[in-house]
Symmetry: C3
C-alpha cells in the first residue's frame, strides 16, 4: 500500500522543487499528483503552451523514484477563455451566470467547453504520452463541488430536451411517465420542457428527478470524454477521478465503468462539521467520525468492488469547514491506516505545502509555507513505513446505496430531519460496530456473493429490481429493508398498489400509513422483548405473509406493526418501517448477521472500530481515550499492541471477529 502527495510546483520557485521532491521521497512517498488547476499556467494565452515547468516537475518526481499522477486541468479554465466564450459558464435556476473566479463553474453540456476540453486534454496527454514517470490521470477535479452538478443554462435546456426525447421517444410517454395531468403540467412537445426555474410552489417531483438524472448523465458523458482521450493517448495509463465525501448529487456508481478505479477526497474533521445534521463531539472535531469516513471508503470501493485511492487525504487543519480545530496527535497517520483497512491501495495527502496564495491559504500541507515540516509530515512518513501490500477487502454484507432514491427523497423529504446519508449510516454504523466489512453498492449490483444485504431506503423500485431482489432471497440471501423502501416507481410516482409496491409479496407486507415526527413526540416500539426508540419516520405495516416482529407502543401508532420478518426458502426478508436508533439498529443487524451466518464481534463503542483486510485486523481509535484490546493468544501485532492510545491504531494478524475490548 502506498503513500503519496498532491503537489503544486507552479506555486513555488523552481529552485525549491528538488528539495520538495527529495523530502517527499524521504518520507516514503510513491505518487505525486499534479496539475489539476494549472490550465492558466500551461496555456497562458490561447495556443501558447508552456510545459517546461511541468516537464521538469515530472522529471524530478521520476528521478526520485516516484511516479506522477497528472490531472486534466479543466476545473479552472483561464480568464481569456471565458472572456472569449462566456457561454461556457453554468447558470443558476434564475439564469444568473456562475462567474469565473473560483472553480468548476463551466457547463458539462456546453458544446464550446467540450471542444475546449478536448483541445486541452489532447494537448496535455500528448505531451506526456511517452513519459515513463506518469502512471495515470485524474480527470478534472471533484465534479460537482460547490453544488455544480446541476446547471440551468440554455445549453442544458437543449441537452435536457434531447435527453428526454432519447429517454421517452414521444411526449405522450413522458406525460404519462411523469403524471403530468396533475396541475395541468402536460407538454405538447419536448421543446416545451424547460429546466426547472424559479416557481412560486414546488416543482413536479418527476420532472425534478429526471433533471437530476440528466444532470448526472451530463457529468458521466463529460468524464467519458476525458477518459476516452486519455486512453486514446496511452492505454497503459490508469484513469481515475477524485470524488467527494457524502456527496449526493453525483452517482459515483455511474462513473465507475469509465474509470480504472475510483478515488476520493477524505477530510474527516471537515465532514463532521458540514456534511451531516447534529453537533460534532470534541473527539470528532479532532479526528472525524470513523463511520462517516469509512462509509465513503466502502462506497468508492463498492462502486467497482475493487481497491480505491484516497486522492486527497486531510493533512492537518483545513480551510473550508466552519471551524478549524487541530487534528488529534497522530490523526493523520490514523486516517491512512483506516483507509487501507477499508481497501485503499494508495493514500495521497493534500497538499504538500501550505499555499501562500489564493482561496486555500488556510489549508495545511505536510510542510508549512516556509518549507518546514508541518504536523502531518511525520504522520505520513510513519504510515508509509508501516503499511504493506494487501489483497482487496472481502466483505460479506452489501449495503444498497441508491442515488436516485436519494434524489427523490431530497425532492420530497417529507420531514426536515430526513437525511438519506444519516439514515443509511444508522445501519452502516451498527454493522461496523460489530466489526463487519460492508460493500456499499448500487441496487443494480450483483448481490450473489453477499450473505446479507441491507437496503435502508430503496425508495424507487421497479419490477426489474424487485425481480432481482427476489432472486437474491430465493438463492438464500438475507435482506433487510428499511423505511420508505418501495414507496415509489422509477418515475417518482407512487405505485398503484401500496408500498413497498413490487416488493410487497417478497417482504410479505403492505404499508398502511406513514408519518414523520418531529423530535419530542413519543416514538417507541417493542422488538424482541425490548423497548426501543426510533426517530423521524414511522410506517405502519400490515403483515401479509410475514411475521410481525416489532410493534409501536406510543402515539397514534400504538399497536401497529413496525417491523416484519418473512422467511423465504433459504433466505429471509425483514422490513423495518422506522428509522432505528442505535440499539435497535444493532439488534436488527445482529439478527440479520446471525441468520446469514456472518461472524461478528462484540459491540465496539462509538469511535473505536475494527476492520479486516487480507487476514489482518485494524483497530482504529478515533477517540481521545486509551483502549485495551483482547486478542487471541496466537495473534501477532504488526503495528502497535494491546493498548491503543488516543488516535492510535493497532494491526493484528487475526480475523476481526476474534477481537474485543477489555
Amino acid at each position: 500500500m502506498t503513500i503519496g502527495v498532491c503537489y503544486f510546483p507552479e506555486h513555488w520557485p523552481g529552485e525549491r522543487w528538488e528539495t520538495d521532491v527529495r523530502q517527499m521521497a524521504d518520507a516514503g512517498m510513491e505518487y505525486v499528483r499534479m496539475g489539476e488547476f494549472a490550465w492558466g499556467r500551461v496555456e497562458p494565452e490561447r495556443g501558447e503552451f508552456d510545459f517546461a515547468w511541468l516537464d521538469e516537475a515530472v522529471s524530478l518526481v521520476g528521478d526520485h523514484g516516484m511516479d506522477a499522477v497528472l490531472c486534466t486541468p479543466t476545473a479552472t479554465p483561464p480568464k481569456w477563455l471565458v472572456d472569449e466564450h462566456p457561454d461556457v459558464r453554468q447558470a443558476d435556476p434564475d439564469g444568473t451566470p456562475r462567474e469565473w473566479g473560483s472553480r468548476r463553474f463551466t457547463c458539462f453540456n456546453s458544446p464550446t467547453y467540450r471542444e475546449e476540453t478536448e483541445r486541452i486534454v489532447r494537448k496535455v496527454t500528448e505531451r506526456y504520452v511517452d513519459d515513463p514517470h506518469v502512471a495515470g490521470w485524474q480527470t478534472d477535479n471533484e465534479y460537482g463541488c460547490h453544488d455544480t452538478v446541476r446547471c440551468y443554462c440554455e445549453d442544458c435546456a437543449t441537452a435536457f430536451r434531447e435527453w428526454l426525447e432519447a429517454t421517452y421517444g414521444d411526449v405522450e410517454t413522458l406525460n404519462e411517465a411523469w403524471g403530468n395531468t396533475f396541475w395541468s403540467q402536460q407538454y405538447d412537445s419536448f421543446a416545451a420542457v424547460d429546466p426547472p426555474g424559479p416557481t412560486p410552489a414546488e416543482h413536479h417531483p418527476s420532472r425534478l428527478l429526471d433533471y437530476y438524472r440528466f444532470s448526472n448523465d451530463s457529468v458521466v458523458d463529460y468524464n467519458r470524454l476525458h477518459a476516452d482521450l486519455i486512453r486514446e493517448a496511452n492505454d497503459d495509463w490508469f484513469v481515475t477521478h477524485n470524488f467527494m465525501g457524502d456527496f449526493g448529487a453525483l452517482d459515483a456508481h455511474s462513473l465507475a465503468d469509465d474509470l480504472d478505479f475510483l478515488g476520493w477526497d477524505s477530510y474527516p474533521t471537515g465532514f463532521v462539521q458540514d456534511r451531516r445534521p447534529g453537533k460534532a463531539t470534541t473527539d470528532e472535531l479532532r479526528a472525524g467520525d470513523p463511520d462517516e469516513v469509512a462509509m465513503n471508503h466502502d462506497l468508492y470501493r463498492g462502486a467497482k468492488r475493487a481497491p480505491f485511492w484516497v486522492l486527497e487525504q486531510q493533512p492537518g487543519d483545513v480551510n473550508w469547514p466552519p471551524h478549524a480545530p487541530q487534528p488529534g496527535e497522530g490523526a493523520m497517520r490514523l486516517w491512512a491506516h483506516h483507509a487501507v483497512a477499508h481497501g485503499a491501495d494508495a493514500v495521497l495527502y493534500f497538499r504538500w505545502r501550505r499555499c501562500r496564495e489564493g482561496q486555500e491559504q488556510y489549508h495545511a500541507g505536510l510542510r508549512k509555507q516556509d518549507g518546514s515540516a508541518d504536523r502531518g509530515y511525520d504522520d505520513a512518513a510513519a504510515a508509509a513505513d508501516e503499511l504493506f501490500d494487501l489483497e482487496p477487502v472481502d466483505a460479506p454484507v452489501a449495503l444498497l446505496h441508491d442515488y436516485e432514491s436519494l434524489w427523490a427523497t431530497d425532492v420530497q423529504p417529507h420531514s426536515p430531519d430526513w437525511h438519506y446519508w444519516s439514515h443509511l449510516r444508522a445501519y452502516y454504523a451498527a454493522l461496523r460496530a460489530r466489526g463487519v466489512q460492508v460493500d456499499v453498492v448500487s441496487p443494480t449490483s450483483d448481490l450473489a456473493d453477499y450473505a446479507a444485504a441491507v437496503a435502508p431506503t430503496l425508495y424507487l423500485v421497479g419490477d426489474d429490481l424487485a425481480a432481482r431482489l427476489e432472486a437474491y432471497v430465493a438463492d438464500g440471501g438475507h435482506l433487510l429493508l428499511g423505511a420508505r423502501t418501495g414507496e415509489k416507481d422509477p418515475h417518482n410516482q407512487l405505485h398503484e398498489s401500496l408500498a413497498p409496491g413490487p416488493l410487497a409479496d417478497l417482504a410479505g407486507v403492505r404499508v398502511d400509513q406513514h408519518e414523520s415526527l418531529p423530535d419530542g413526540m413519543p416514538t417507541r416500539l417493542r422488538y424482541d422483548g425490548e423497548t426501543h426508540d426510533y426517530r423521524t419516520w414511522a410506517s405502519w405495516l400490515d403483515a401479509e405473509g410475514a411475521a410481525a416482529v416489532g410493534t409501536y407502543t406510543a402515539g397514534v401508532a400504538e399497536g401497529r406493526t413496525a417491523i416484519t420478518r418473512a422467511d423465504r426458502d433459504g433466505g429471509s426478508v425483514t422490513y423495518c418501517g422506522c428509522w432505528p436508533t442505535d440499539r435497535l439498529a444493532d439488534e436488527l443487524v445482529t439478527d440479520l448477521l446471525s441468520a446469514a451466518g456472518v461472524a461478528y464481534t462484540s459491540r465496539f463503542p462509538t469511535g473505536v472500530r475494527v476492520a479486516e483486510r487480507d487476514g489482518y485486523a485494524w483497530v482504529t481509535n478515533f477517540t481521545s481515550e486509551t483502549r485495551s484490546l483482547s486478542v487471541p493468544d496466537d495473534a501477532a501485532f504488526v503495528v502497535g499492541g494491546e493498548t491503543v492510545g488516543a488516535f492510535d491504531v493497532a494491526v493484528v494478524e487475526t480475523p476481526a471477529a476474534t477481537l474485543s475490548l477489555e
Copy 2:
C-alpha cells in the same frame, strides 16, 4: 349540514369512476368539487376542447344523487398558453419571472391573462349551463397561495399607476397623503411611481401599504371577472372561492360582495406547524389548535355574517407542513363537527383519493391510491351521518380584524415578535375559552347587533371609523381596544395628535410612549388586584377622562398606566396598551362580557372548546385526554355523552353557557 369531497377524475382511469362515486354516495356525501386544475385536460391544445371526461364525471355524480361544484381552472394554465404569452407570468420584485411548473403564477393584472381567463371561463360555464347536477362554482383556487397576491411585473406597474391616479386624482395629493417629503420621495407624476423593487434600505411604509391595497384590489377585480361570467351564464349557480387559513395578504372581507358565500381550506395540523410562531404541542400536531381553526371559520363566516363552506377539509396526513404526523383517531370527524358548530353549512374533504402523480403525492385522501379506505373515510361517513340542519350561528361579540392594519404592522412590526394573527388570537382564545361565539368582522361592519366588540389592533384609524365606533359605544356598545390601536392614519402616517388619534376622546386616553421588548425582559402589570405578565408590546397611557385600571410594575414602565376604562353613556371603552398573556386576556374579556351582559362559561382548558349554534352546544376535544362534562339535567345529547374521549365530540341541546367540565 352537508359533507362532500374534492375529486380529480382526470387522475384515474375512467373505468374506476363509477366505483369512486358510488363510495362517495355510500359515505353520505352530497357535493363533489371538481376541475380546479384541469385546464390542460379540458383544452390540451389551443381551441381544442375535451369535455367528454368531465361531462361523464358530472353525470355520474348526479346519477348518485349528489351535486357537482365546478371550478374555473385558471390557477394552472397549460404550458402552451404560457409559451405563447410569457407576459402572463408574475414577477418577483427584482424582475425574475415566476415560472410555469407549479401553480398560481399568473398575473392578476395581465390583460392577456384576463382575456384568456374570460375565454376559458366562458367555455366551461357555457358547457354546463343547463346541467342540473352542477350546483355552483368555485372561482380559481386559493388566490395568493405561495405568496402570489403581490406581483411586480410591468403590467402591475401600469395598473398600479392607474390605481393611484384613480385613488388620488393628482400627484400632489399622493405626495401629501404618503408624506413624500421624507427622504426626497416626491413624485412629479403618476408615471414616475414604480412597484417597490429591491432597495438597500426599507421602503416608504405608505407606498408599501398602497401597493398591498392595490394588489388586493387586483385580486378582487380578477375574481369579479369570474363571478360576473359565471352569473352571466346562469344566475342560479352559487359562486364561492376557497380562501386559506391565517392568510394575511388577501382581505377576505373585500371579496365577500362578489361571492354568495365564502369557502376556505382547513388543515389543522399543518397550520400549527407553519402559520404561527412557537412550537406545536403533541396534541396540536395530532388535531391542531381549535382556536386557530375556529378563528378562520369565524372570519369567513363573519365576512358575510352567513354560513360558509369548508371547501377543503384535511383528510389525514398532508404533504406541505414540515412534519406529517398522523392525525389523532377520529380527528377527521371532529373537524367536521367543529366546522359546523362554527357555522359551516358544508364540509368537503380534500381529496377523495391519494394522488399517484405530481406535487401532492404525500397528501392523504379519504381513499388510498389503491382505492382502499384511508383513515378519513369512516370519519367522514360518521360526520355525514351525525350532522343535521341548523340555523346560522348568532354571535354576541365581534372581533375586529383589519387587513389593512395587518399589512401596515407587517411593514413596520417594530419587533420580530409582532404577529397580527397571534395578537388577535390572544383575545379570541380568551373569548372561546368562555364558550362565547365571535364574529370576526371588518372594522367597516355594522356593529349594532353586537353587545361587545374587541379590536385588538385597529392600527389605522380615520375619522369615519372613529365616528362609527363612537356611535357604537353611544348606543350602548362595549368596546375593548388593544395595543397599537389608533397609531396611524389610513395613509400609514402617524396622526398629528398622539395615539389613539381620533379615538383618543372616545377612549379617554393618550399614548405617552410605547416600547417593544424581547423575551426575557421583565414585563409585569397589575390589573384588578392581581399581577399579570404581558409580552412584546407596551404602550404607556395617560388617562384623560378614563380610569387607569392597570399599571405596569416593572422595568422603565413601572408606575405608568397600562390599561384604562371609560364608561360612556350606556357603553364603555377599555384600552389595553400591551399584548396580554392568557390570564390577563381572560380577565379583560370576562370583564367586558359582564359589562355587556353576555353569558359565558367557566373557563375551559386549552384544546377543549364549547360552541353554540341553533340551541345546540358542541363540545370539541382537541386533546388526547378524556374529559367529563357537566350538563343541565334536561339537556339531551344528540351526539356522544358526558364523557368526551380523546379527539371526540359531544353535541347537547342546551345553551353553551350551561356547560362546564367536571
Copy 3:
C-alpha cells in the same frame, strides 16, 4: 461643550418653525443640523430651485442665537433625476440595480452622479456662502449605510480596472501581488478584471481585499469632491461627515484628511442589538454598552487625534433595531456626558421631532409628533446646562484598529465566531475598566506619544509597518500584539516566513500552528500563575528570543506556548496567541500599563466606567444599580455626587486614577 439637534423643517408647517426653534434655544441648544435629505424639496424639478423655506429656517436658527450646520443632500436624489439617469444606481454583485425609494443607492463612481453632485453642491453652498448663521457642512449622510460602500455596476468595473492599473502598473505585477497562479486566476490585461460576481465557490482573497480597498477609495474621492466644493465656496466653513458605529466597510481614518473633524451617529441601545454577536442584557437594552459606544467615540476622535462631534445622538426609542425598549430614565443625558468625557465637542440629538411620515416614524425625537416634549427633551436640556468647555482628551494608550485587517479577516474569518470589532473590544474594555483613555488609531499613525500600544489583530503587516513598530519599541514603547497579528502580507497572501512575518524578530516569536474552536471545546491556559479561559482562536507559539509567559493547558494545544513577552531596550513586546476572555485581558493590559508606567484604577464592573478629560473624571453608570464612589478628599463634584444612581453620571475634578467604587 455644545448641545444641538437635527431638524427637518420641511416636514412641518412653516407656522410651527418659530415655536420649534424657540424651544431648541430654550433647551440651551447651539447647533441645528438641517437639509441632509432635502434635494427633492430644494430642486423639485430639474433646474427649478426652491430655497425660500431653508432660507427662513436658517434665519430663524440665527435669530435665536444658534448656528446652522447644513448638509449636502446627495444621499437622496429626487426621482426625476434617477428616471433621467438610471445609470446612477448602484448594482448588486449579480447586476440587480439598487432601486430608488430608500436612500444611499447611488454609485460613488458614476460619472453622471458625480456631475449631478457637483451641480447640487455648488448650488446649495453658493446659496449660503455669505450666511453668517451657517457654521459648516456635513457631507452627504452616513456613507455606506445599508451596505452600500461596495457597488458592482459597470461604472465600478471601469473604475476598478483604472484603480488596479494605477496601483500595479502592469498586469504581471498584479498577478504576482495577488498570487493568481492559484486556480488559474491569472489575468492577461487589466481589462480582464471584473468586480467579484456570483461564483460557486469563494473568491480569491486578494482580489476581494483590493475590491474593498478600491470601494473605500471611491468613497474617499466622492467625499473629497464635496469637501473641495464646500471649501471653494467658503473656506471658513468646517466640513465634517456623520460616520456610523462599529461600521467596518468604510475606513474612517482614510477620510480624516478631508474633514475638519469627524462626526458620528450614536445609538447605544440599537448597537447592542444589531452590531455585535451575543444577546444584550436588560441594562444594555436600556442604555447600551458603554465600551461599544466609547470605542466609537475614541475611533472618530483618534482618526484626527482631535475632538469630534456626535452628529446624531439617540433621543429615545428608535425604529431600526429588532426591538425598541425605552431607554432608562436619564439615559439621554448620560450619553451626552459620556460622549463629552470621550472627547466630543458637540452632541446633536437626532431628531428634533418624531416624524409623521415615511420610514422613520418609529424614531423618537426630543419632541413628539404633536409638539409636546418627549422623554429626551429634558435630558438634553439638563446636559446642555451641565456641560462646560474642556481641553481635548489626552490618551496614554493607543489601540490599533486596521480596517484592511478587518476586511481581510472578514474575507477569511476561519471561524463563524471571528468578529474583528468584538476581538478589539476585548482589549478595549479591559483598558476602560481600568479608567484609561484610549486613542483608537490607524496602524499608520505616529505612536511616539503613547506609552503603550495594543494591536489586537494587525493581520496584514508589511515591512514598513514592521519597521515603524520596531522603532516605537526601540524608543521605549510597550506593545501588546494579539491573535492573528502578522498572518498576512499587505496583498493578503501569507508571508513566506511563518507569522507574525516581519514582526517575528521584534516579538521574538513564530506561530507554529493555529486553530479555531467552537464553543464547548476545552480552552484553557495558564498565565502568571492563574488559569484562564480563552475563546475562538488559538495560535501555538514558538518563543524565539521572547519568554513564554502563557501556556495552553487543555486540548491538543496542551503544553504549547500561548503568550510570549520580549523585553526590548526600553520597551517590550507581548504576543498573545488567543482571544482572551475578560479576566485574562485584564491581566494582559494591567501588566502592559504597569510596564509602561500608566496609572490605572481598580477594576470597574461591567457597565460602570470612568473617563478623564482635562482634569475632570466622569463616572458614567450604564446600569440600573446605584453605585457609591470613593473620591479623594479634595476632589470637587461638578455634576452629581458620591452616589451615582441608575443611568446617572458624576463629574469630579480629579484624575480618573484616583477614583474607585466602594
